[in-house]
Amino acid sequence: MERRNFLKVAAITGATTALDHCGHPDHQLIRFIPEEDLTPGVAEWKPSVCTMCPAGCGLLVRVMEGDAEVVRNGQVGLMRMGLAKKLEGNPNHPINQGKLCPRGQAGLQVTYHPDRLAHPLKRSGPRGSGQFQEISWGEAITQLVGRLAPLRSANQSASLAFVTKPIRGRRRDLMEQFLKAFGAPPGISFEAFDEAVLRRANQLSFGRPQMPTLDLARTNYIIVFGADFLGTWNSPVAQSVGYGVMRQGRAGSRGKFVMVEPRMSQTGANADEWVPARMGAEGVLALGLAHVILNQKLRPAGDMSRAGSLIKGWGEGLPEYTPQAVESRTGIPAATVTRLAREMASHAPAMAIIGGPPLAQTNGLASALAVNALTALLGSVEKPGGLLFTPLLSSSPIAEEGSRASLASFAQIQTLLEKAPGIQALLLCDANPVFSCPRSAGVREALEKIPFIASFGNFIDETSVLADLILPDHSSLESWQDNVPESGAPEGVVSLAPPALHPLHTTRAMPDVLLEVAHQLGGPMATALPFKTLEDMLRTTYGGLGGGKKHDPKEDAAAWDKIKADGGWWSAQVQPSAPLLNPVSHPPIAMTEPEFDGAEVDFPLHFLPCASQMLLDGSLAHLPWLQETPDPVSTVMWGTWVEINPKTAGQKGIKQGDVVEVKSQHGSLRAPALISPGIGPGTVAMPVGQGHEHFGRYASGRGANPLAILAPMIEPETGALAWAATRVKISRVGEGRLALFAGGLRAHPQDEGQR
């Protein structure tokens, strides 16, 4: 149907062009003189940095000459220019070692997306109507300056706020410096699946407020509590590479992988043993394991670090966490607990990891500390085959970020909302809190009150649709990129690369815009940000790296060129440094029971939103490649689903594909049901990512957004959103349709009974 229309359009408008070397370009268009001279038909591989998630993988971009329809000074024409044809991992990069995840592979589509904003826009209709009109860059920047200058003169500069997607690198520093110089509070780095709890826990347990690096390649035993480390969590590519080695890369020693999670994820599917513990009870299980190890003296007690001292009753050998007690609280047989404990103790190096759902509980921090203590007990902190921490370069923004990590982005957003009436101007950079926060948090309503919103993102999404002014950024391939990865490699890494492509549209790099604004604001702003462009800034920061100690300009220049050619800088010299000084002291924590929103009688089911392997937190839902790639577990394409255990479905009379209503105390949504044996009868799961109102033609009006109906439950200490702490009820609404790629469920159809 769809394609038939496209065909008709094509046939009628004659919109057909053909690949430049095997067809005829549109004749009516004029040709511009190409800016560069590439060898036609020959591919060039240029380094870049993947920005689909914060992991900071190194890219090689396959650039080939081609004809692009471009607009140059108001005129449409064909331009022969370098076009990105394929993304591959940079084989020399220490994090992804030449590999890429599906999301990284799809990064190409961001640059060539038909709904990408091609030029600055200003709002022409009422707020949120999505009506904008095209303006020039000059006008756009004047408008922005015109809004910001008065704030400073009226010394309301504190009333400027900045919300950005998590960026690790100089861009982020630039924002911070801009805000500091302006006199505004620090920017808010917003992530939907917040890792603040884990950062906090690592800071308390190990003195490192950052995500861990897993030395899977050398580990013999890994027990994972909820962390989707082969799919979407932390630095998935680096972890997958290590996982491959752990499985079959070492002669004779195949490591064991135990997964503890309530619903089978793509990661869990690979586990040797899959342990569906009760939601929120993961910490208890961890302590149960520790109990066995401690009391059976399976590990020298000497390894008991301060990680242990943070747990109430650790010194006494965790008397309340006998296997039987654990069985009653987690639903995991005592025998299993004992066996697992023995196994992991006798297969050093062994490690325990926590992430994802267990941390999204009211007792998330306690669970994290419990698991950290277990890892410490196993003696694999900052040891080969254990938890490592990527050394943070002195120049890295993470150190600073870390000190802030104690406050989760949800908490930061909430404080922002509280201050909202006082805020005069808001700057957005690809962050989408309206989509990613529970509707009950009222983000949209609060933002609508802010008199002026400017967005740097290059797509219209639920948040930037509220903007009055849009200054679209280049795509990541078109601009300078740098990233100081928080985790993923044992050595210090800077991912850095010059633009791989000439800009396709009349966009501008956000840092350059900020710099220009700063200069136009003049005074202290100009002096605080002396750089002309991001490139200057990057060079002054990293130019010295790898150069000689005594900064000889010639040597530095060579080093700089090398960094640009390599796509970054990394060095084994930067060893894991000693734990940070002034460790945060903290009273011991008791493993409390998790609290859930919604009484069990009215809302009998746990509701588990889970990161989508393809669409991540929804920030990639606009890419058709990812939309059409079947989810690995459900094989659903182009949609959302509610994952229900066959028993639960049977009771409610729900069949595969039926539309069901999921109702929480804070809202309800509708989505087709997916009957899956991989989830317990007491839980329903939904992938995050669909349910966009405004996010390009491929995502808009598709599926439902589970985050919307969440209760505003938080982990008290960090203020992180406890997104797995909501209870719901479900009911069948009627017939529906799922675009499933898989036919059968099982390898032997008979298992499903006679078909």
């Binding site: 394609r3 065909l7 036919g743 059968g744 469920l745 099982r746 159809p749 008979q750 006679q754 078909r755």
Partner: protein, 464 residues
């Protein structure tokens, strides 16, 4: 029959050819529009792509090939039957042969079109034809589809000869009865038939040779059609039983088709005195036998699969016995066995034409379902369950299916409009002593007419 005089026979059998009724035009109108709609549907498909059909991955074949096999099956009534009966010298065959042979030719034409319609790029169908081109490539002769091309080609041309050969005397007969443009037309068609002994002799021998030749061809055609499936490693396709199974099924549905056609002619053209209950009785017996053979094949096919209990095949098996396709499967069994068996087995019912016709209708429907059930369930349950699928037809496929049936009717009616649908001369030969062929020689020389018994006996002696 012998009490009917030659004049009456001519009168009765030439009537449809010589005068056009209103009913004829209305039929043409009706069928014509349906056929036109089907042609439109096909053009629509060519313009948009075959995606307008319901086919998908893994069910790449459905209605298209079902119709193909079905029509090729129908085609097995005519030529095969009449050939066998000729050789067996069954005299009751005489009124039946032509309307049977016509079915063959038209069914083949219609069936033969489907492999072209079903192509993703129909305009390139001629690549299946071996012809020298600058590309220096020939068709892949290992492909059953290529075999189909040759088999059907042979069978069609064979059947055409088999049909048109004995038409000559009757065309000549018409030639002598009509005037104007039609005179010219039939003069050409009659190929200068003058009924000389040589001509009669050649006709007879020709028919005998063709009858012998056409039987193995007919058998081979449907065997080869069955190989389209049997040669592919698809669960429940890859089976040795398919050859005979398909041939049996073909003759089964073919006879049913023939009976329906005969009943139709009998009513519409008022041939009650020519197509007698006895014919339906005989054909009914034949049909009964085929019904049993068919049932036997289905049973043994199912039994061996079930007993073999091979995982992939069982998936298909259960989908037809209890699964999504079960309703169709049991309808098929009902139509092909439960209904026809008693109707045909009980003599009293078999002698009523109605009973036989009802059975035939059931069988035609049932056999179409059988073809469908051979193709779709297997394709939707191949070896890897992950790639299982299902199928739902679209209006395009349905229109084309209906259109193909309308086309059959259209062609059949048109034919009966232009050629006596019952072989007049055979009837006459049947109703007189064998010696007459000799007598008639002189007559013809005398009167120049072709009507064997035109002149009175008296003339004979004087003229020789």
């Amino acid at each position: 029959m012998s009490e009917k005089t030659i004049a009456q026979i001519n009168e009765d059998l030439l009537r449809p050819v010589l005068q056009t009724t209103r009913r004829f035009w209305i039929a043409m109108l009706f069928l014509g529009s349906i056929v036109a709609a089907a042609v439109g549907a096909f053009l629509y498909q060519v313009w948009n792509g075959i995606g307008v059909w319901g086919i998908n991955r893994p069910v790449f074949w459905a209605f298209d090939i079902t119709n193909f096999v079905f029509w090729i099956g129908i085609s097995h009534a005519g030529t095969l039957i009449s050939a066998i009966l000729r050789i067996a010298n069954a005299t009751w065959r005489r009124p039946v042969t032509r309307c049977a042979e016509v079915i063959t030719v038209f069914a083949l034409m219609i069936g033969g079109i489907f492999p072209i319609i079903h192509l993703g790029r129909p305009w390139l169908f001629f690549w299946m034809v071996p012809y020298p081109s600058e590309r220096q490539i020939w068709p892949q002769l290992r492909s059953p589809l290529a075999w189909d091309f040759f088999a059907i080609g042979t069978y069609l041309s064979g059947s055409l000869i088999f049909l048109s050969y004995p038409m000559i005397p009757d065309l000549a007969l018409v030639r002598d009865k009509v005037t104007g443009w039609r005179k010219k037309l039939y003069t050409v068609l009659a190929l200068g038939w003058r009924g000389t002994p040589k001509q009669w002799h050649r006709l007879e021998t020709g028919m005998h040779i063709m009858a012998v030749v056409i039987i193995p061809v007919a058998v081979s055609v449907h065997t080869i059609v069955s190989w389209d499936f049997a040669m592919a490693p698809v669960p429940m396709w890859h089976s040795t039983i398919f050859g005979p199974y398909f041939v049996a099924g073909a003759i089964f549905s073919g006879i049913a088709g023939l009976i329906i056609a005969m009943a139709f002619l009998r009513k519409v053209l008022g041939l009650e005195e020519y197509l007698l209950p006895i014919h339906f009785d005989y054909l009914g017996k034949l049909l009964l036998m085929m019904c049993l053979i068919w049932a036997y094949f289905v049973f043994s096919e199912r039994l061996t699969v079930w007993y073999g209990n091979e995982s992939a095949e069982m998936a298909v098996f259960w989908s037809t016995q209890r699964g999504a396709f079960a309703p169709m499967f049991w309808t098929m069994v009902f139509c092909n066995f439960i209904i026809p068996f008693p109707l045909l087995a009980i003599k009293r019912i078999r002698n009523t034409i109605t009973g036989v016709v009802i059975a035939s209708w059931a069988i035609v429907v049932g056999m179409w379902l059988e073809r469908f059930l051979i193709i779709v369930p297997s394709l939707s349950h191949k070896y890897l369950p992950y790639a299982f699928g299902s199928y739902r037809p679209t209006w395009v496929e349905i229109t084309i299916l209906v259109g193909s049936n309308a086309a059959m009717g259209l062609l059949y009616i048109l034919f009966s409009k232009f050629v006596p649908i019952i072989a007049i001369w055979e009837l006459k030969v049947g109703s007189h002593k064998p010696v007459f062929v000799r007598k008639q020689v002189t007559v013809i020389r005398e009167s120049g007419g072709t009507d064997p018994i035109a002149a009175e006996p008296g003339l004979l002696t004087t003229d020789i």
